[in-house]
Amino acid sequence: MFCLSGDVTRPGLYEVRFGFTFRHLLYDLAGGVRAGKRMKAALFGGAAGAFTTEADLDVRLSFEDLRAAGLPLGSGVITVFDENRDMRDVLLRLTRFFNEESCGKCFPCQMGTRRQYEIMQRVMDGIVYAGDAASLKDVGWTMTDSSLCGLGQTAASALLSAMRLWPEIFEPQADAIQISPDRK
């Protein structure tokens, strides 16, 4: 059972056999991206998952194929974002989610989710400092490696994948200028 949500013509639960491609699920079954737009990103595995782009449309939906492609599946949730979405806003919501959901027991997650969220809030305001990418990577990998439970271990997963796909989001600005949401 795959749960397809986001900018999709027919979002919902789709029961398909393992092995069909993501393209088949999105375009043949779910009517493609809403309003005929292009897909900018898809988040596999929910908030604790990872982003990918059109480059992975032909990946077969099975645990083995997705693992080989470096993508998580989790409970089968795929969220699609169209070309007009500002990924910084998506990342802000994800980091805010983890900041609120962290139970607060272990140090790396209780503080790391907070630090992630604080940096993302400022980036959303258009202010990016030179050390931000490195700080997010260190916080992200620390949580992944040393958290007490799976929440902390996946709290940085989506953000780290976004940093690989769209490094320009974290390119430092000389002064506080608004970054246009028009990114490819």
Partner: protein
Amino acid sequence: MSQHVTLTIDDQKATVPAGITILKAAQQLGISIPTICYHNYCTANALCRICVVEIEGGRVLAASCIAQVSEGMAVKTRTQRVTTARRTILEMLATTVDLSESPEILGYLQDYQAKPSRFCDAERREPDVIDDNPMYIRDYSK
């Protein structure tokens, strides 16, 4: 089952009583691992995660204050993953609470070359002091 276990810590072989933690085994070898939430007379609950070490074959790092030794285990107490995690936890801690009365932790900040100033947006935790009994005062901002 034998009462003893042989493992390597930082390439040093050791035979230690079965059931002890990696932290204790390391101490026997003279290898020191930093701790914050651990105390000899309290039950370890592995919350600060500063004592994490890398066990060969493990997916994530293990908290040495509770992880028990096992036969043939290969432990590294100071790899890149370990020092990055410890340094980052220290940097986050220094920007969250007041460490001025924690000389041991301030020492760790030096050891791991922590630079707390990287987290300039961090919100300090400053709850009110709790003075509700005649035995001790609780100041959770420290």
